[in-house]
């Protein structure tokens, strides 16, 4: 019988950030470091979605980073998501120990990526 080898190992983390509205405009660029950059002449952005795919070379993973405006589940807030998909598809670990070691490494990278994607002003929201 043998055993099947792993073909892909990945995790996905989706964080939503609820930013309080002040008036009708949310200056998302003061809370986030990932957003759509558009010419000023087009006026305020009502919604956007951006995606970037990057390599995390030292652990051989691919990061697919999505950020978008999503409907706010609470009143007087605008909501944004930071959606990370981190996966390894080649040269995968096959033993339990190696798999958990990689998952732990991915978790650390996920935290680093998230922290890099938000500003101090966003961090203040989490401590309210």
């Amino acid at each position: 019988m043998g055993f099947q080898t792993l073909g892909r190992l990945g995790v996905r983390y989706i964080n939503r950030i609820d930013i309080p509205l002040s008036g009708h405009v949310v200056e998302h660029e003061t809370f986030l470091n990932v957003y759509a950059k558009l010419p000023d002449i087009l006026g305020p952005v009502q919604a956007y979605a951006v995606q970037a795919v990057l390599r995390i070379e030292d652990i051989g993973c691919k990061l697919t980073l999505n950020s978008a405006v999503v409907p706010a589940p609470i009143l007087d807030h605008a909501s944004f998501i930071i959606d990370q998909d981190i996966a390894k598809e080649v040269d995968l670990p096959q033993s339990d120990n190696d798999i958990y070691e990689l998952l732990n490494e991915i978790r650390v990278r996920k935290n680093n990526v998230f922290e890099a994607c938000i500003s101090d002003r966003a961090r203040e929201l989490f401590h309210r």
Binding site: R16, D18, P73, I74, L75, D76, F126
Partner: protein, 231 residues
């Protein structure tokens, strides 16, 4: 009109002149095809009528082609199989309803106290107790619960409300002080309906309103919200 239906119509007319009874049926079904061709449902029905009428008129090869054409017709999508969903056991429906609103709660968990959430979950479980459920009632509607969460996160009432369900599955919250009562029904699409019953000099007064959840606090402002919501 496109060329294809016209050709079909001409063909069936010619066959009808042959005065064969089975072929007359084919002409009728072709006419029905033309009448219902804009509707997927009508088209499917006409296909099946054609199958019945053609049985005596066409060769085995023709029927094989027809059968293969019929196999290309898309079956109903799983999402349209509502009768199957309606027949699920009561316990399963109640479990799914409570699970779905608990998931909604988890999405705003950072805005609610842990103790508040735990008590809310116990109330939801109690509302959907299969042993006390009336079969004709509807479990809680997600859209109603979304409206409730928006109101609660905004008002943050220190006093917890008693919770109930309308027959249609709308969540109802009630704050009671003695004989006085504020009742809010949370509807879908961010709508709320509220009723206040207060006693002044032993005389009852009633006030009611209906508005959007974002206007609820303003709507209740003239009626001393602190009286109801303060611990």
């Amino acid at each position: 009109m496109s060329d294809k239906p016209i050709q079909l119509h001409s063909s069936s007319t010619a066959l009808t002149i042959a005065a064969h009874s089975a072929l007359k049926a084919n002409a009728i079904s072709n006419a029905l095809y033309l009448a219902f061709k804009g509707s997927t449902l009508g088209e499917a029905r006409v296909f099946s009528m054609q199958s019945m009428s053609n049985a005596a008129a066409f060769s085995e090869g023709a029927r094989l082609i027809e059968r293969r054409i019929n196999e290309l017709v898309n079956p109903p999508s799983p999402a349209s199989l509502t009768s199957f969903l309606a027949e699920r056991p009561l316990e399963e429906r109640l479990f799914d309803a409570t699970a779905s609103v608990k998931i909604l709660t988890s999405q705003v968990a950072m805005h609610l106290e842990r103790e508040w959430r735990d008590k809310l979950f116990r109330q939801l479980d109690s509302l959907h107790d299969p042993a006390e459920w009336e079969p004709e009632d509807e479990p809680i509607q997600q859209a109603s619960f979304e409206t409730f969460l928006k109101a609660i996160v905004q008002i943050k009432p220190p006093r917890r409300p008693g919770l109930g369900l309308s027959h249609g599955g709308h969540l109802i919250a009630a704050w009671t002080k003695g004989r006085d009562r504020l009742t809010i029904e949370f509807l879908s699409k961010n709508r709320v309906r509220w009723v206040i019953a207060r006693y002044r000099d032993d005389e009852p007064e009633h006030f009611a309103g209906q508005t959007t959840v974002s206007r609820l606090a303003d709507g209740l402002a003239p009626y001393d919200p602190g009286y109801w919501f303060s611990a």
